[in-house]
Symmetry: C2
Subunit: 255 residues, 2 copies
DNA sequence: TCAACTTTGTGCATCCGTTCACAAGGGGCT
DNA sequence: AGCCCCTTGTGAACGGATGCACAAAGTTGA
């Protein structure tokens, strides 16, 4: 493993989990544990311990054998890898109820994302305050975004307006977009796009719910153990007390 | 392929895309096309045509060779498979800004999800109206949810309250949960859980953004073509005009 | 009726992600 | 010092998902 450069193509799946570990690490830190084992972190993040170790190995970070990971160090390494140490300016378009909720969402500011400007096309919205920000007309978007060198955009408009807004954001220099509008967006190469469709999540739940109540056995697959061996009768005692043996975790479908 | 029973264990990845196809089909229908090819649908849904065909084949649905898929039929089949034909009652807990936005989100009602009750623990929220609904105290949750046989719950509380609320929902009979609180929830087997963490999405974007501006080449991998053969020089003319040749789609990371 | 064309359905190879299982490394107690 | 135990890091097997490429099937037009 290359120990010096932490920039060695981290798998997508791992990148998607790093924020999870970060969240878990904060819990562990608040519990007062200076170190945490992969098992402890796994429990707090709701994943498999081996996955944690493999994921963290991509960062080139060192755990201490026999001990675990230093919470402070690991927190800092993950933050660095995610690029959270510098703050990011964010522009949000669409100040409907969802847009307002997002603008005020504390979880963004906590992680270094500062919403710098909010836009809408409805003239009666323009000029009103959303939190500390004044809603600007979407016509202003190009200048404002370009002038402030904002790199991240959030789209919370109706689907009809989304592609248009998207194009404008990109023209103004935005290179990462989080889309809440329920539609497919097309972006040029070099621009990253992620989407959150609230209704889709419910529909996926609906599928599983539907097939639970179905006459014949639904699609559910039993957690079948692969090799007959090794049900670890001894429960690994984690350093942190954060092993919530509550109940089994569900197969939360993707991600 | 089993043509008669459409209930033959659909892969997770496919289930997650079905709502996407449904959305695309509505677009196509509004455009007035009675049929659509896999290529047309793929373009509208932002995925690969082969994937569309394979996905749809799991439903046991028939496309018509030489023609494509009948839009109305396919819409109905996907809806049926997702269990969207009957409506679902939904309980929402946590009437903060996000909770309010979700309660009023039109996309839910459109797809057959009716929010039947909203709860909060803040006494000054209780009794206020959110849309047509009156906020009830979370103490009422067990009775209300059980009495109305609500199967789906949405958690939009702060992280600290989430596990507690989750347990109560399950005790009251909910078997599918959509969690917006930024924390890991543990649920017993048989209960399905999906999560949406808004901050995590931004952090993933941050990672890519960060590595774009890095001195050496970032993590981006070129779209390298596998076999040297067959760049289809002829553009497949879809029946629907919905082939938006705009720009290349990004590698929207997961999902 | 027949030929050319369109589009589906799917076998297959490949890739990515997951998880097991184990060797190697360190810490601490005696 | 030496032993034991804990934990990391990773090789390797496995399974699921993706996407190509092609045969089968049906349509259209002459």
């Amino acid at each position: 493993m290359s120990t010096l450069e932490p920039v060695t193509s981290i798998p997508q799946a791992t990148v998607a989990r790093l924020p999870l570990y970060l969240r878990a690490l904060h819990q562990v830190a608040e519990a007062g544990n200076p170190t945490v084992s992969s098992a402890g972190l796994a429990a707090a993040a709701g994943v498999n311990p081996a996955k944690v170790r493999k994921d963290l190995s991509y960062l080139g970070s060192y755990g201490m054998r026999g001990i675990g990971y230093d919470v402070a160090t690991l927190t800092q390494q993950i933050s660095a890898s995610l690029g959270l140490e510098r703050g990011w300016g964010v522009a949000l378009v669409g100040v409907g109820r969802l847009g307002q909720a997002l603008t005020n969402y504390a979880g963004f500011a906590n992680r270094g994302f500062a919403i710098k400007a909010v836009f809408d096309s409805a003239t009666d919205q323009v000029g009103t305050k959303v939190g500390p920000l004044t809603v600007q007309h979407v016509n202003e978007l190009p200048q404002v975004v370009a002038a402030q060198k904002i790199a991240i955009g959030i789209i919370a408009t109706p689907a009809e307006a989304a592609q248009d807004v998207c194009d404008q954001l990109i023209a103004a220099g935005v290179t990462s977009i989080l889309n809440f509008a329920p539609c497919v967006l097309f972006v040029p190469k070099g621009v990253d796009l992620r989407k959150v469709d609230l209704a889709i999540e419910l529909q996926i739940l609906s599928y599983h719910e539907h097939h639970k109540t179905l006459p014949d056995r639904g699609t559910r697959l039993a957690p079948r153990r692969r090799r007959g061996s090794s049900v670890p009768s001894r429960r690994t005692r984690a350093i942190s007390g954060a092993l919530p043996t509550r109940t089994t975790r569900t197969k939360a479908v993707d991600e």
